[in-house]
Structure formats: structure tokens, C-alpha cells
Amino acid sequence: MTTATAPAPVRQGRRGAEAEEHLGKAYDLALMRRLWRFIVPHKRLVWIAFLLIPSTIGLELAQPWLLKVAVTDYIAPQQFAGFGSLIALYALLVAAQAGSSYLEQWVLQLLGQRAMHDLRIAIYDHVLRQRTAFFDRMPVGRLMTRMTNDIESINEMFAAGVVTLLADFVKMLAIVGIMMWMSVQLTLMTFVSLPFLVILVNYARKLMRRSFREIRVRLAAMNAFLQEHLSGVRVVQLFRREAAARGEYDEINAGHRDAYLDSIRADAMMYALVEAIGVLAIGLVAWMAAMLAGAGPDTATQLGVVAGFIEYINKFFIPVRDLSAKYAVMQGAMAATERITQLLDMEEPDAPARAVAAAVVEDRAASLVCFDDVHFAYAQGEPVLRGVSFDIPRGATVAVVGATGSGKSTLIKLLTRLYEIEDGAIRLAGVDVRDQKVDELRRRVTVVSQDVFLFGGTVLENLIAGTTKDRAAAEQALVRVGADRVLARRPEGLDTMVADRGANFSAGERQLLAFARAMVRDPEVLVLDEATAHVDPESEGLIEKGIALLMRGRTTLVIAHRLSTIRNADLILVMSRGQIVERGTHDELVAHGGVYAALERTFSRRD
């Protein structure tokens, strides 16, 4: 595919680069709402999860209660009748909790995976809907990152983040409830330690927020640098930049290393200090229990309560301890969501329907293709076409000749609405192309460009993709353009696999396959960009023949590089700097004595 030589606006690109480094919040309601849309279709799973979450929590929190009963009723009084059934019940709870928690995880993951699958397809559809100019500006790598890594980041959130965070919160509330019920005083005492916890969590959160952002930016910078230098390693070596490049890399590498310092500290503190605060809380509970021991209930009950409290406190602090890991995941997911949202908000629709549709009545009498005073620029202020007008009657061939940059390739892109014209009109059978359904238009007009792009898959798939044609039609088309020879040497024939970008076919063979692909489509209008690359003489002959066969009896617009093609055209257009400077048949133009005549003289001399 020829990439448009359109200079994209410089500013745009830089803004894009900055967007990569956007700071992520761990929680952003507006973004969550955007994500919610992808979860709604799987509401049933949400409901199941909502049923499972309390069941898991309930089964888990019943266990310390049993411990309390065990201590109070059996162990403290050293009286073991019926102890066995209590142990059995305990074991049952453990098993049930395991089952319930597994189901809960599974349902949540399924929900997440399905939502992400939908999101991925939504982005894909969105991206493919954009006009061609969008792709000139947007690096492929960035779009890929949106649809792979960023989605995986959000995915992680389902695995470890927001939903379990919610469940954790419910669990912590439930623990407080049970503890209050067991003993109000002990509970209050437990939460004397809470201020320490709040201060710690807040401090660690700040540290982490800064650190995670730093890490993400550094990692992205480092990988971009690596990618660039490895793919450009030849240039690095040719210009002897090895030492300079390593110096720059070491700077980035050091930044990357140091970005982790804060996160290592925050992580270590969070883990260790939360545990310490938990122990402190247990100490406080023990102390309070001792204070109450004289006045309150009997010792056995008190011991049971303390044993239960120890368990509950441990269970209360585990989610707090894991908060840092979840925080990182959440922040990453939010940043990814933000980037994806930005992409989804970029709307440059490809060939949109006009607001007021004109009457779509085809005029059989009109020329099949008509360019009427067409103006176009890829970038503002740099016109590529300046008032181009010409007609192609049914069955006729128009050849365009001109220098690189004269605007001839642009004609092709405009006819199929890959780019939208600024002024004037292009008509197909008398109807403005902007009033036609774009897929319909692109079915009627088939383009064969000089750099042939073949997709992975078999040759057959490449030939008939997007049509209703079958194998027989593909075979026929191959024979008709003389491309059957390409496959004759290959044992799998039409089922030959196409390597990445068609690397297992020569340039000439790819050309012939492209002709066959166009032939299968049997278009009303054929648009052909003849290849300039030199191929071996054998292929050259085959290609010349293939072109002639493809064009026979078909309305054709051809950007011509071969004299045979030009001489046989019904009309020749000579383009220069976005304008048609000469037009006519071969004989007329030679008689006219202009540019084309001069060119012809050069050629005649050569012959």
C-alpha cells in the first residue's frame, strides 16, 4: 500500500505523544461509567456475582465464630463431648467457602473477559470506521497498544481490582459488625489503632500514586527507546553512535531503576506496618479484655471472645495489606481506560453519508466516471489537486501520466472516497460519490495499487475475500489474467499459504495475484496504479499481458508507466502540480507538440 505522502500536522503528533504519559487516577467515576456500558450486557453474571460475594464472606466469617465457641465451650473448660461435630462443621465451612470463592472468582473473571472481548471489538470497529487520513497520523504501534496491552490492564482490574475491592469493603464492614456484636468495648479498643492505619495507608497511597505514574512513564520511554534503537541499529552503527546511544540508554535506564525506589518502599511499609498495626490491635484487645475480666463475664467466655477477635482482626487487616497491589492495578486500569476513551472519542468517520441525500438516480447517459473541478489537499495550504476535470465514458480507458508528486495517485484515493474532496464533485454514473453507500461504491470501483498487499491466509482467501465468489471463479480469474502460472509451481495451488505480507511471492507474482483479485470482483470501474519497480523480464511480459486482459472492455482509470498502456488509452491526461496540463489521444498530443510530444520524441529516439 502506498502510504500517502501527506505531511501530517506536526502539532497533532506531539499531542499524541504527551497523551501516552497521562497521569492515571485510581478511580474516576466518568471513566467507570464508560466501562459500565460494556458490563451491562452481561448483567446476569453481575447478579450471580452479587449473590456469591455475601455467601463467600458469610462462610468465611463464620469460622472465627466457631473458634470462639470451641474455646469457650470446649477448650477452656477442657470438656470435649461433641467437640468432634464442631470440628466437622468447621471443615464443612472451609470446604464450602473454597467452593463459593472459586465460583465467585470464575464468574467475575468471565464477566471481565467477556466485557473486554466486547470492548476490544468495539475499538476495532471504531478504528476501522475511521477515514484514511486518521491512519496517516496515528502510528500503528499506538493503536496496537490500545487494543492489546491497555485492554489487558483493564482486564487485570477484574482479576484483582475493583470488584474484589468492593467485596473486601463489605467483608470489613461485616467483620466490624460481628465484633461489635461480640463485644462493643473490645471493638472500640481495637479501632484505637485505626488512626495509625489511616495515616499509613494515606501516606503509602501518595507514595504509590507518584511512583506508579513514574514507573509507567519510564517503562514506556525505555521500551520506546529500545524498540527504536534496535530497529534502527544499522543507522546507529553506520553513524558510530554506539557509545552515545548507550549513554542515553543508561540515563533512561537509571530513571527506570529509580522510579521503583518509592514503590519498593511503599510496598514494604504497607505490608510490614499493616501487620504490625494488626498485632498492636490484638495487644490492645488483650489489655482491654484483662481490664474487663474482673467485672465482666466468666473467663472462658472472655477467652473465646479474645481468640475470635484475634482471627477477625487478622481477617480485617489482610485486605488492607493487599491494598497497595490492588491500587497499582486500579491505577493502571484507569490510565488504560482513559487512553482507550480518548481513542474512542476521536471520530473522523470514513466517507459519511451526507446529511441531505440527493436523489440517487443513475443517469445511464452520463459518463461512468466524472471528475468535475476537483480540489484537494492532504494538509491545509498545500493543495495537491487544483481543479481537475475529466470524464471516462463507459468502456473507455483513461491514462494519467505525470511526475512523482503531480497528484495522480491522489485521483485514485478520491474516487473510492479514501479521502474526501474539498471542492468540486466526483460522479459515478451521474451520481455524486458522496451520495452513494460507501461499501457499494467500493464494490463497483476496484483499485489495484502498485504495492500489492496480501493478507495472511491462503491465496484463495485473498482472492475471494469480501465477495460471494467461489473457488471456481478464483481459478477462472487466475487463468484469465495469466496468473495461473504463479501457482503452477506450488503444489498446494490455491491453498498455498501467504507468508507475512506476501513475502513468499516475488513482486511480479504479487502483481499478478492482485490482477486476479480484481478480476474476481469483476468491477464496473477498474482503477490501476501500474508498478514502477523493475521486475525480471519474464514477469514483465506476464504483467503487461495481465494488465491488457484485465482492462479489456472495462472502464479503466490507469496511472500509467508503460508505453503500451499509454498508447492504447482512449484519453491521455498529462498532470503537473495538481493540474491537467495536456489532454487528448496519443496522436492528438503528439500533433499538439507539448510535453507529451517531447516525451514521445525521447522515446522514439530510444527505439
Partner: protein
């Protein structure tokens, strides 16, 4: 480029420099485990006090002890983690730096066999796995050891029988850790593989977007993408199931320990003993699991390390010659190719090629795609290896010269204009050893974290916003000045990833300016103006004539307009020199060159004609 010597390099060599912090971290780890024992002991003491007489008076020293031990444990633990993890990060830095330096010495042959994606994966995934082995690996293995030594002693002291029963599930926990470690690794690998497939599909779609649109292939491609996405979903679900099983299985196993303790210990121990015992047991669950986990982590770390080791062991085929270098005043630029044959995969790409290029002359090389033009250039700049005694620079065998001299003497503007995502000025300045590949915006960021160095600043081609005259001259010679003047940031314009913000022609001219800025003895232009429009090309060729007259030049092009005026034109055909001569002589001869000239309508000739006509009219 200093590369660590392979013979002595093991996975642990990189940690040697950080013996101090790692040793300190381990000492802290041991202290953590030792101090931890104080917590259950004082908890038990507190519970005994509750049961005893006058609990209010006796419990507070125990409660205080708990707090002190908890705090001490936390502090030592924090330091153990910080020391060990920071050391691992520091060692990772060294490893990355060495790897990158080494990669820059490897030649084209290596990169042909190892796509960038694969090398990137060595530098990201493998380095990460090795670092995990250094950090989490060391920490957990030692932690497990220390925990077992200290805690087990305490458990046995309380009651050997309960201890024996309590550790019954432990072998299973180790096993579970190991099995799940492996399963999760395999699951993630499958997910990665599916993700890779999805990515390559996607890359194809985005690369062929114009074909997709022109042929209305959207529904077909979409179906393919949806299928790939669904496969990824399935792979993810398999991984999820494994992960989802892990937590409940572990929970159940550790609870099984607790239940056993409750059942056995409940009947054998007092309440305080039971509580103390339970705390020990809980303490052991994580290290036990980690042990199994770490075994598989270590295994993967070693596998990653051996891949990195292999990379380090790869030596560039193209290496410095024995020397000495040609003295500067004797460097004239006479090139001689004698009977050069280069085979790739058994096929002769260049077949007994001999060409002589006197100093200061211009040689054009033409030929069809695949005739061997680019291979010849690669040989000249020693990107690919050549046999001894085949190419001579001023009479000296190229393979005997230091690589540095060859590459300094030869300025090369390759066919595909590769630019770094920095400013135009930086890209051009790279021609003469200045310039930075990280744009200044990033440099400011480095400033903020203090990672910027004076050496980096010396590379600024626009100190204080005033461009280096060498850059300006090259910009003008490459016909880029007008374009740059139109850009809002001028020479300081950042070109974006691979120069995406520039047009194809602009990119080529920046690459050309880079080669010109070098002021080389030999200038090679490999189809350097193919995306430039005809008129601009004519102007540039005009500039270049002046530049080229002073040096030996090699022009590769399939455009007649560009090669016509060369002192000699060499026609390559299927790796052989088919014809040599001037434009006129070759046309008269009526051979391959004449045929090339006639079968194709050269659009630039037309461009030149239209331009001249317009001037006339």
C-alpha cells in the same frame, strides 16, 4: 564496548557488586524471623494473664511487649525488603546496560535471524524474570529457611505431637505452590501466544487498511479479529480457572492445618498455648507456599538467564580489523572492489563483482529489484561481512581497517530513511556524532529526577536555540531548508515515531542531510530521493553536484535523471556486473541499461519535461 566476559558470567555474577546490601537484607530477614517469635509468646503471656489473678495488673507488660515486637519485626522486615529489592533493581540496571551495549555491537546477520520483537522480548521479559529471581527469589527462599528454623523450634517446644500433626498438610502446600506456579506460567504463556496472534492480525489489518477499505473487506477481517479475540478470551479463562483455584485451595489447605491444630491441640494444649501455636502455624503457610512457588520461579529465571547468556555469547561477525588505520592525510577515497562474491543461504547475491572507483568520481549503480545493489552497499559500509581481499579503500583491505574508520570515512544515506523520534536538528547532528535520540522534552524530565548528565548536554545541536552551522549547511544542501522554515518549531521540530509527522520526501531529505553533515570521504546515496518530487530532486541534485565533486560518490537509483551524469554507470544484473560505462556509451551499446531505459516510462523524466515546458511558456 565492554561486554562482561562470558566465561565467568553466571546468573549471580551481577549480584556480586551488591553483596553488601544483600547481606544486610538477609541479616534483617533473619532478625525479622527471630523477633517475630516474640509476638506469639507475648500474646500467650497476655492470655495467661487474663486467666490469672488480677489480670489488669499483669497483662499490660505483655501487651506492650507485643507492640514492641510487632514494631521491631516491621522495621527489620521493611529494611530487608528495601535492601534486597533495591539491589535486584540495581543489578537489573547493570544487566540491561550491558545487554544493550552488547546488542549494539551485533551485525546485520544477527538482526536478520532475530527479529526486533524477539530481541525486545529478551530485554523485557527475560530481564524481568531474572530480576524476579534475584529479588523475590532470594528473599523468599531465605525467608522460608529462617521461618522454618525459628518457628518450628518454637512449635516443637510447645508440643511435638501437635507439631507433627499440624505440618501434615505442608508437603501438599509446597506441591500446590509448585504445581500452580507451573500451571500459571503455562497459562500466561498461552495467553501471551494468543495475544501475539491477535497483535499480528491487528498489525496486518492496520498495515493494509487502504486495501481493506478499497475492497470493502471490513466484514471478513472483522470476523477474523473476533475469532482471535475469542481465542484470547478462552486462553484467559483457562488461566483464570487456575488462578481461581489457587486461592480457595490454599485457603482450604491452611485452614485444614488450623482445624487439625484445633482438634489435636485443643485437647492437648491450654488456650494460650493453642493461640500461640496457631500464630506459628499461620506464620508458616506463606513461606511454605512461597517455597514451591519460588522453585518454579527460579527455574524460569535460570531458563531466562541461559537465553541472555546465549545472547552475550553471540559475537559480531563483522569486527574491527587488525589496523593500523589509514592516516587522515592519506585518506583520499579511492575504492576498489575485486572479485567480490557474497552468498546468502547458498545463493550468490553478488557474483564475482569487480568495480574501480577513483577518488573524487561519481559512480552510479543501477539494476532491477534484487540485482544486488543494496547488498553491495552493505558490504562497502561493512554492515555485512566480506571475504578478505575483496574491497580496498585507498589500497588498504577494508577488513584490516578499524570499523570506526570505515564508517567515519563513508557517509551513507540508506534507502529507507530511518529517523529517531527526536528533533530534526538532532537527527541531522547524529551524522557527525552529536545529537540525542531522546527529545529535549524527555531530557527535561530526566532533569527533574536528576538523571541528566553533562555529557548528554554536550550533544545538543542547538545550544540556546541556535543551530550548529554544520546542521544548517546540511539542511540547505539536502533541499530541506524551505520545508523546515515552514514548520512552527523549525529545526527543533520533533519528528515523531519513525518520523511520522514528516512526509516521505521530507524524511528522506533529513536522512540525506544527516549523511551530508558527516562530510564523508565517500558518499553513498541508496535511492535516497525516491519519494521526493521531480522538481525538488532536480534542485537537490544541483546542490549535490557541488558536494559530490569533492568526494567519491556512489549513487544507487532506478531513475535515469539521477544517474545520467555519473562518471560511470555500473549495471548489476542477477548479482553480476553486466555493463559498465557512461550513459551515452551504455545506450549506444543497446544492452541491459538501454532496455531498462526503454521499457519504462520514467515519471521523473516527464516531470523534468513538464517543468521545462512551464518555464518556456
Amino acid at each position: 564496548m565492554p561486554t562482561p566476559s562470558v566465561a565467568r558470567l553466571t546468573a549471580w555474577s551481577y549480584l556480586r557488586r551488591y553483596r553488601g546490601p544483600i547481606g544486610g537484607g538477609m541479616a534483617m530477614l533473619f532478625l525479622t524471623n527471630l523477633l517475630f517469635v516474640g509476638i506469639p509468646v507475648s500474646t500467650a503471656g497476655a492470655i495467661r494473664a487474663i486467666q490469672g489473678p488480677d489480670p489488669a495488673a499483669h497483662v499490660w507488660p505483655w501487651a506492650l511487649a507485643m507492640a514492641v515486637f510487632a514494631l521491631a519485626t516491621a522495621l527489620t522486615r521493611i529494611w530487608s525488603r528495601i535492601w534486597i529489592f533495591n539491589a535486584a533493581r540495581a543489578a537489573e540496571y547493570d544487566l540491561r546496560s550491558d545487554l544493550f551495549g552488547h546488542l549494539l555491537t551485533l551485525d546485520a546477520g544477527f538482526y536478520r535471524k532475530n527479529p526486533t520483537g524477539d530481541v525486545m522480548s529478551r530485554l523485557t521479559n527475560d530481564v524481568q524474570t531474572v530480576r524476579a529471581m534475584w529479588g523475590a527469589g532470594i528473599l523468599n527462599v531465605f525467608n522460608t529457611g529462617f521461618a522454618f528454623v525459628t518457628v518450628l523450634v518454637m512449635m516443637l517446644r510447645l508440643d511435638p505431637i501437635t507439631t507433627a500433626w499440624a505440618i501434615v498438610p505442608f508437603p501438599t502446600i509446597v506441591l500446590v505452590g509448585r504445581v500452580f506456579g507451573k500451571r500459571i506460567y503455562k497459562g500466561s504463556r498461552d495467553v501471551q501466544a494468543q495475544l501475539g496472534k491477535l497483535s499480528s492480525d491487528l498489525q496486518e489489518d492496520l498495515g493494509g487498511i487502504q486495501v481493506i477499505k478499497s475492497y470493502a473487506l471490513e466484514p471478513v477481517r472483522r470476523k477474523r479479529f473476533v475469532a482471535a479475540s475469542e481465542k484470547l478470551l478462552q486462553a484467559n479463562m483457562v488461566l483464570t480457572r487456575v488462578r481461581g483455584q489457587l486461592v480457595p485451595v490454599l485457603g482450604a489447605l491452611s485452614s485444614a492445618g488450623s482445624i487439625i491444630v484445633l482438634w489435636v491441640g485443643g485437647q492437648r494444649l491450654s488456650v494460650d498455648g493453642l493461640v500461640e501455636f496457631s500464630q506459628y502455624l499461620a506464620r508458616l503457610v506463606w513461606p511454605t507456599l512461597a517455597l514451591g512457588w519460588m522453585l518454579s520461579l527460579m527455574q524460569r529465571g535460570q531458563a531466562s538467564w541461559s537465553r541472555l547468556e546465549q545472547l552475550f555469547a553471540t559475537r559480531p561477525v563483522v569486527a574491527d580489523g587488525a589496523g593500523p588505520a589509514i592516516p587522515a592525510d592519506e585518506l583520499k577515497g579511492r575504492l576498489e572492489i575485486k572479485d567480490l562474491t557474497i552468498e546468502i543461504d547458498g545463493r550468490a547475491i553478488l557474483d564475482h563483482v569487480s568495480i574501480t572507483m577513483p577518488a573524487g568520481t561519481t559512480t552510479a549503480i543501477v539494476g532491477r529489484t534484487g540485482a544486488g545493489k543494496s547488498t553491495l552497499v552493505d558490504a562497502l559500509v561493512r554492515v555485512s561481512d566480506i571475504p578478505k581481499g575483496t574491497i580496498f579503500l585507498d589500497g588498504r583491505d577494508l577488513t584490516t581497517l578499524p570499523l570506526g574508520q570505515v564508517r567515519t570515512a563513508i557517509g551513507y544515506s540508506p534507502q529507507e530513511a530511518f529517523l529517531f523520534s527526536t528533533t530534526i536538528a538532532d537527527n541531522i547532528a547524529m551524522g557527525y556524532g552529536s545529537g540525542r535520540a531522546v527529545p529535549r522534552a524527555r531530557a527535561e524530565e530526566l532533569d527533574r529526577i536528576g538523571a541528566r548528565t553533562a555529557a548528554a548536554d554536550a550533544l545538543d545541536p542547538m545550544p540556546g536555540g541556535v543551530p550548529d552551522p554544520r546542521v544548517v549547511t546540511a539542511t540547505e544542501a539536502a533541499g530541506l531548508a524551505k520545508d523546515v522554515a515552514r514548520m512552527p518549531d523549525g529545526l527543533a521540530t520533533v519528528v515523531g515515531e519513525r518520523g511520522i509527522t514528516l512526509s516521505g520526501g521530507q524524511r528522506q531529505r533529513v536522512a540525506l542531510a544527516r549523511a551530508l553533515a558527516k562530510l564523508p570521504t565517500v558518499l553513498i546515496l541508496d535511492d535516497s530521493l525516491s519519494s521526493v518530487d521531480a522538481e525538488t530532486e532536480r534542485i537537490i541534485l544541483g546542490h549535490l553536484r557541488a558536494v559530490m565533486s569533492a568526494r567519491t560518490s556512489i549513487l544507487i537509483s532506478h531513475r535515469v535523471a539521477a544517474v545520467k551524469d555519473a562518471d560511470q554507470i555500473v549495471v548489476l544484473d542477477a548479482g553480476k556486473v553486466a555493463e559498465v560505462g557512461t550513459h551515452a556509451a551504455l545506450l549506444a551499446k543497446g544492452g541491459v541499461y538501454a532496455e531498462l531505459y526503454q521499457t519504462q516510462l520514467d515519471p521523473d523524466e516527464l516531470g523534468a519535461l513538464t517543468a521545462s515546458q512551464e518555464v518556456v511558456s
